[in-house]
């Protein structure tokens, strides 16, 4: 690829990745503020404005983490990766830069809307029409650019990443456009609006973000380990399951109520089959990582990608577990579903995003990563933070559900049961933010070229006995 073309498209990439890190810190911070208010309700009595009220902080944090951190970041790393596996460079790089800026503008506008005037209350669509419009225009630009990189013929190169990418890129505008039309266009009556929200929620998580993350796993794991993916037919089967049933999975969030029971049952079936698809993909990833423990320890990109690959299975396993009717009766309406969000966003998608940035950004910037200790801080704070957050939400949610279903337990007591778990959750989220701070310090140093190293990939030293080991290893 022409070097000047590459550096021009790198501007859009860097905007998306830098934006992603900023939104992650802000989103994580807002999430902690919200949970602090849940833990100490009296705190709410000291704030005279609505801006930092619990009811605004929660949707704002979820929006920032989903669309700002993961959405923006995954688009950024895909813009590095896709032209490289197809060999087709981006054209009209100024337009791509406009798309990247527009995406950040949409996030900023959405955040301002939610905090200042409140969210819409709609599931996964808490922002107003303006933001939808900006997101669609921006995605049209970025998605078209990335789609060009898929190439006109697929006779050579990887198939599975291309298939997931194609699906993810089509799912976002189709889902968002239809949801916007049905939910705010005045075309859908009450019950249908609720179904539409659940479908859109599924689109965002299982048809847009998951496929984009899988593109990175299917492309980077074989590259980093030097081993090819073994079975294309198993990969195709999992891909087919994902795109046929991914849009149905969120129906299992509903428990009785206004959603027709056949749709809830379909949600359970989709949850189980999506786990089967995740298992199928894990069967493909496992041989790539087998016997590579030393390399996983040394190579920070591989370390994060491995964590993401295993979290992928855990996220879909937990979702399937919560979908089982007997379990769902107890865990519906509880924070057990937040455990799913924490493992899905923070561990599965977040780790793949971090691993991909570690692997790919130096390729664009022709730089390595400067600080070994920051890499370690990032990994361990992320892993421990997510483990604490997940276990706090999961155990707290199960206990909350059992108590809610016991009419002898007053509701205030149910809320008090959550307190010790909230302490664990907040500690986990704080640890995660420390990890993100370590990561952002590395990222800022890389983007500003503050150090002279030229390693193409972040690697831990194999021995940590001497100070010389702290320098990045040259490939």
């Amino acid at each position: 690829m022409n070097r000047s073309q590459s550096s021009k498209s790198a501007v859009a990439t860097q905007i998306l990745i830098a934006g992603s890190i900023i939104w992650s810190l802000l989103g994580g911070g807002l999430q902690i503020l919200a949970n602090l208010q849940l833990l100490i309700p009296m705190l709410a009595y000291f704030q005279p404005t609505a801006v930092f009220g619990y009811g605004r902080l929660v949707p704002a944090a979820t929006f920032l983490l989903t669309y700002g951190w993961i959405g923006s970041g995954l688009l950024g790393v895909l813009m590095i990766l896709v032209p490289r596996f197809s060999g087709i460079p981006f054209r009209h790089n100024h337009v791509l830069t406009f798309g990247a800026i527009a995406w950040q503008l949409a996030i900023l506008t959405g955040l301002t809307q939610i905090l200042m005037t409140g969210g819409s209350g709609l599931l996964s669509l808490p922002f107003g029409r303006t933001v939808t419009l900006i997101l669609l225009v921006s995605f049209l630009v970025l998605g078209t650019g990335i789609t060009r990189g898929l190439g006109g013929t697929w006779k050579s190169g990887p198939i599975l990443p291309r298939l997931y990418l194609l699906g993810g890129i089509l799912a976002f505008p189709l889902g968002l456009g239809t949801a916007e039309l049905l939910l705010r266009g005045g075309t859908a009556p009450g019950g249908v609006q609720i179904i539409t929200q659940l479908v859109w929620h599924s689109f965002v998580h299982h048809l847009w973000l998951t496929p984009m993350a899988l593109v990175l796993l299917f492309q980077l794991l074989p590259t980093l380990t030097g081993r090819p993916t073994t079975s294309l037919s198993l990969g195709l089967l999992s891909w087919g399951l994902f795109f046929t049933l991914g849009g149905w999975a969120s129906n299992s969030l509903a428990s009785q109520g206004p959603v027709p029971s056949w749709l809830q049952s379909a949600g359970v079936v989709a949850g189980v089959l999506l786990f089967v698809a995740a298992l199928g993909n894990t069967v493909l990833f496992q041989p790539l990582l087998e016997g590579k423990m030393d390399e996983i320890r040394r190579n920070v990109a591989l370390r994060f990608l491995s964590l993401g690959a295993w979290s992928y299975l855990v996220a879909y396993g937990w979702m399937m577990f919560l979908s089982i009717p007997g379990v769902r009766q107890n865990t519906a309406f509880t924070v057990a579903w937040n455990a799913n969000q924490s493992v899905f966003l923070f561990s599965f998608l977040g780790s793949i995003l971090a691993g991909s940035i570690y692997a790919l950004l130096p390729v664009v910037r022709n730089l390595g990563w400067p600080s070994h200790s920051s890499l370690l801080w990032h990994f361990w704070c992320t892993a421990l933070g997510v483990a604490l957050t997940f276990s706090g939400y999961a155990l707290g949610g199960v206990l909350q559900g059992l108590a809610l279903n016991d009419p002898g337990v007053p509701l205030s007591t149910v809320a008090s049961y959550l307190c010790p778990f909230l302490v664990v959750i907040i500690a986990g989220q704080a640890l995660w933010i420390v990890g993100q701070l370590a990561f952002s310090s590395l990222l800022i140093a890389t983007l500003l070229k503050l150090f002279p190293s030229t390693a193409p990939m972040a690697v831990f030293p194999s021995s940590r006995t001497s100070g010389a080991d702290l320098a990045p290893v040259r490939h």
Partner: protein, 200 residues
């Protein structure tokens, strides 16, 4: 695999998702109509007032759904009815006039599908918004003082001023948003029978 074939498969899968759920869902619940109560000549579910419809938007924007659900489950496998959150389970027809239609997925606080029936006095709801602990000392609900205005007290308080003391000769008066929100909460009740969910 050819790109065009892959594109066709993805499009079919995505359309299957929308048509299978939204179109079939529309045929099943989108064509529901309110039921006429012949004794009162009113419809079930009752149509909310304009103020209550505005209140629904305030309810959404204040993020009440982050703690409260709007969907009562039946007796099988849940204690919703025993907790007194409604006289019957919620069904799709209950949401006919809801705009936006919301159900919420958290229960840090109680379900509000029937709150209009549980708390009939609008002043109690208003006080709950201003200071939840005044109404129930164990409440963990955050206060919403921004829904109220401080006005200079005249020789006589305004009719709807809150029975709380404010500093500097001022009185606490609910804003339009607070009134709309209370009207919406009062409109939430399940105390009417439907063919698919009769009152017991």
């Amino acid at each position: 695999m050819k790109p065009t074939r892959a594109l066709a498969i993805v499009l079919v899968a995505l359309l299957f998702t929308w048509i299978g759920q939204v179109a079939v869902g529309y045929l099943q619940v989108g064509k529901l109509e309110p039921v006429l109560n012949e004794e009162t000549s009113l419809t079930n579910p009752p149509a909310p007032s304009g103020l209550a419809q505005t209140g629904a938007r305030v309810f959404a924007s204040e993020g009440c759904l982050e703690c409260h659900s709007l969907s009562v489950r039946g007796p099988a496998g849940s204690a919703d009815l025993t907790r007194g959150w409604g006289p019957r389970r919620s069904v799709p027809r209950d949401y006919l006039f809801r705009e936006p239609a919301l159900i919420g997925f958290a229960r840090i606080g109680p379900d509000l599908s029937d709150v209009g029936e549980r708390i009939k006095e609008p002043n109690d709801l208003m006080m709950h918004l201003l200071n939840p602990k005044k109404l129930r000392s164990t409440s963990t609900c955050p206060p919403h003082p921004w829904l109220f205005e401080l006005k200079l007290a005249g020789p006589k308080n305004e009719n709807d001023s809150m029975p709380v003391t404010a500093a500097d000769w001022k009185q606490v008066v609910p804003s339009y948003k607070a009134k709309a929100l209370v009207a919406y909460l009062q409109s939430l009740n399940l105390g009417y029978p439907l063919p698919e969910a009769p009152l017991k």
